[in-house]
Symmetry: D2
Subunit: 321 residues, 4 copies
């Protein structure tokens, strides 16, 4: 039995409490591009995205409604439905703007996933350089979620959904503290890290190069909005990527990320790090703020509430006070 | 019957007529890294490569001995042997440094391919930034070959080897002039372009970003070796990549390439260009020199000679005099 | 008798034949910033400029009305008037937007200069990164003029106006072909090169770094306006600067320039190049198009006509056909 | 009476306790270039420097022996001697490698200055790109010293030595906390900041652009030497420069700095900041570590000891705990 063929991370839906404020942040300051908008929602994308990859939806509280993954065919959606049924996972068919057939599934750890194949494609902006905005954000890259059960969750994503492990961090007893898993051939489509969960840690876009990350910092500084910068810029040990983390006006964390590596070899051997080695996080030596380890976005349950959260069993890295 | 699973471009073997001179060029000036060397050959790689990706071999004339592709398993090699046998292609088992089981096949158009799964892996240099040299060349990216029969060859690579078409250039009668085909998820592992063939047009490495391409130009200039720069830097229309082409002391052409886009979606629609539109080649408006359209490297036949070449049926782009 | 103290290049006034078209080019595409505008003129500046540095003025033909230099005091203006009177140079007092007292002088070779001390200062945009446009053009850097008498003109600028020579190109008989002269401490405020003159060759702005020059090319490409790129990007031998030359819709040439060097030492020794050495122009080996040697902007005379031009005595560099 | 004409910052002499270790740090990791070396000292320079700009001298303790400034003529040295005599400053004539006539002066606040005009010039490495090392460090840019008496010291440098003030930070009572003063036309040749002094805070080099600063971080990380990074990279409010601070194996702090602005206008108005505004230091919002405010290098007295230090009267910025 082949697992369903997931192609890549596809999108996220964030609920936000002030749509105009969020639009200013993501569009005017960071430089995402509006594909659609109405009174209640804005659909954003990077310059390479041919479809929307981040939906901001007005609501009374800030949550992550879903994390979307593109699959290879409609048949893969059916296979996912079968899987959900077999494993007793909450699931239902939904539709969204441009995506008529989407299977929403809550995984065993409470993360609200959405799978889709068909998506209306629009001309990209990749070579419309004269229309690029801000830091020229390029394409959706990955999501990172918190769970208290990194090891179990990572194994299930590998076994049931055929994600492939590229890097892993472990505590001194060999327990998985974080796992980086991909489908599309770079370091990750999803990372799973230890923490109170289910919550979203961050949602990430690829940017063309490191100079664009400096430019994003400069733009936020110019707008007296540098308080949104939570961490970076810097160079990750894990993934080798050049990165910046920002918090949006509702606290949702996004990452701007570039320059990782190719992982398509089937005999690629995952890279192992000690969670207590700060180089895994920042080769240049800076320490992430504690908020980076403890804060995240609540995720929405099927009934419109918040999925109940549990504390992690493993602690913070030794170097975080 | 599933086609064999080719993972990605793997390597090239160039014969060169003065090994010390070539070593100076590729190692001291461009910044490739020596993995092995002996009196007769040097094995080079980028900082992300865990294996050698360019072998320079001393010989009395400069040729391309083979273009290597990594496959997903030993069984895929067996399937390729079966394919070669079924289609009447010249083939034989060979071994090379670090690659004990390699299937060499000459395709219908005369290109000497080599397929392998097993390859000795070495620690990469990716995060050994203190040991990076020159322009910090990162990893093998693709090969480009000349053939008089672009359309037939492109169709066979898609059908028999499951390459996927990302971009294509066509003449005004709709005949394929160039085809870009991938396996690893970016724009290409192989490009096939119209010209006297079989010959190699170029072999390409990924570099971390555009600043490294300027640095490569500066280094060549500093060494009074700028005559090796044949074309660029510039921005390709096809692939969107930032590029530079250089000719080595024997005339072999290599490209340094960065910032293309992701092609993993199964419903990705190939991008079509007119061969007479100079934007496909250089968005910034420069015209490639005529040498770029007419010169290439001879490829070696199974008996150690040069594979016989044929003139193309299609002409040069209208804007080339 | 001390020469008047000229501080730096200050501005240029271009007449253009379609103000909206020129505004689109300089503001929307290249990224200069509008300080003032009315029906007949637009006043532009870079992000570091505290005053306007390029005025575009609507007229029936495209010319350069004047090249402005900032002086150190009002007394220096009086000294310049005395100099003009003593040497029999056409001159008159004028005023312009923000510059109430400006001495216009036509030098011995026909170049329309304008000197000013007082200039209304406006808050700069340097740290308003959120308001930067396009390539983030930073500040006025220099002007380059054509004359048939490079040697005489260069000597007068050194002697009468205390410009300091940084680099010089010479033909095989030792005759000056081009001279680079500064006041502000980098390679030049004015360059004087051999050609039919008096004409302006180009007017140049500093950009923050080379990545901004690539971005400018990309933006022009995105707008299908890459035909405006005349030369580059590349690395000059003379000045060491990273450069790009573009032609505006009326043919006026501007350069975007970065990364030259400091020239404040009084014992700095000018660097000498052979005009027949193409490295002086482009270390990376590209050859400038012939238009770059032969085309320029007419300069306006005191009576509103064009200053009469003379052919150069020296020829083109040997490598230009 | 005109003040002596100081041209620019010229050099520093650091004593270090392990010359091989310091050589590895500055040459192999950071990328300075050796101009001379012997058993007891190494003379370093950037690629644009035509003379040595940092001397490392073996000694039993780590100090700053002197901060050198280039003057415009031998007569300016004589004028400086007269000034020292008139003001009762310790001074004596010395000579150093390549600099036969150097006036050493201890200023009123204990900083050991050295002035010179003549200096043996060597071919620069600016266009020998193939010989550039590491981050391609370009030229000496400035020094920053600690003193408890910022206001008095800044006024004297302006009055007696004709330095020009570009930026200043002040506490809430309007007392100067830091002053940035230049001679060469960019933001500073010397900065004077509040702290226990006299000590050197840092000595700074210009790098070609921000990508080189990231590269320096990467190289230090690759060598497992990132603990030498004390602060940055980031964007200063004061100076607008992109910066990185590193500590050498003896604790001497150097800065790598690029992209400030031009200050040659005589009517340039100094920019004023509140010391309690963290944007003056880092537009991107990071806070400098406390060590950055409290640690510095002892400076050597005329008798070979350490100049006695005094505590500052003003406190740390409000945002530093």
């Amino acid at each position: 039995m082949m697992p369903p063929n997931i192609v890549r991370i596809g999108h996220a839906i964030f609920t936000v409490t002030d749509l105009a404020r969020s639009r200013h942040f993501y569009v005017d300051l960071l430089g995402l591009n509006v594909l659609h908008e109405n009174r209640d929602a804005i659909y954003l994308r990077g310059i390479e995205d041919r479809e929307w990859t981040l939906k901001l939806e007005l609501a009374s509280s800030a949550r992550v409604r879903q994390i979307g993954f593109k699959v290879a065919s409609e048949a893969d959606l059916d296979a996912l439905q079968q899987l959900a049924q077999d494993e007793g996972l909450l699931h239902r068919w939904e539709s969204e703007q441009d995506r008529p057939r989407m299977l929403r599934v809550q995984d065993h750890w409470g993360i609200p996933l959405a799978f889709y194949f068909q998506s209306q494609r629009y001309p990209w902006l990749l070579q419309s350089f004269d229309r690029h905005r801000g830091a020229g954000i390029q394409r959706v890259d990955h999501v990172n979620v918190f769970t208290p059960q990194v090891d179990a969750m990572s194994r299930w994503y590998q076994k049931a959904l055929a994600f492939r492990l590229t890097e892993v961090s472990e505590d001194k007893d060999g327990r998985a503290w974080g796992a980086w898993l991909h489908r599309k051939g770079n370091v990750h489509d999803i990372a799973i890290t230890n923490g109170t969960g289910p919550r979203m840690h961050h949602f990430a876009y690829w940017v063309p190069d490191a100079s664009r990350i400096s430019q994003m910092c400069d733009i936020l500084a110019g707008a007296h909005a540098a308080a949104h910068i939570e961490r970076g810029p810097g160079r990750h040990g894990i993934s080798n990527a050049f990165f910046l983390y920002v918090r949006d006006p509702d606290g949702h964390r996004t990452e701007y990320y570039t320059a990782d590596y190719l992982t398509v070899d089937p005999d690629f051997e995952p890279i192992r790090w000690s969670v207590d080695d700060p180089r895994r996080q920042q080769l240049w030596g800076g320490i992430a703020p504690k908020s980076w380890f403890t804060e995240g976005s609540d995720v929405e349950s099927f009934d419109g509430g918040v999925v109940e959260q549990q504390e992690p069993l493993l602690g913070l890295p030794a170097y975080i006070k």
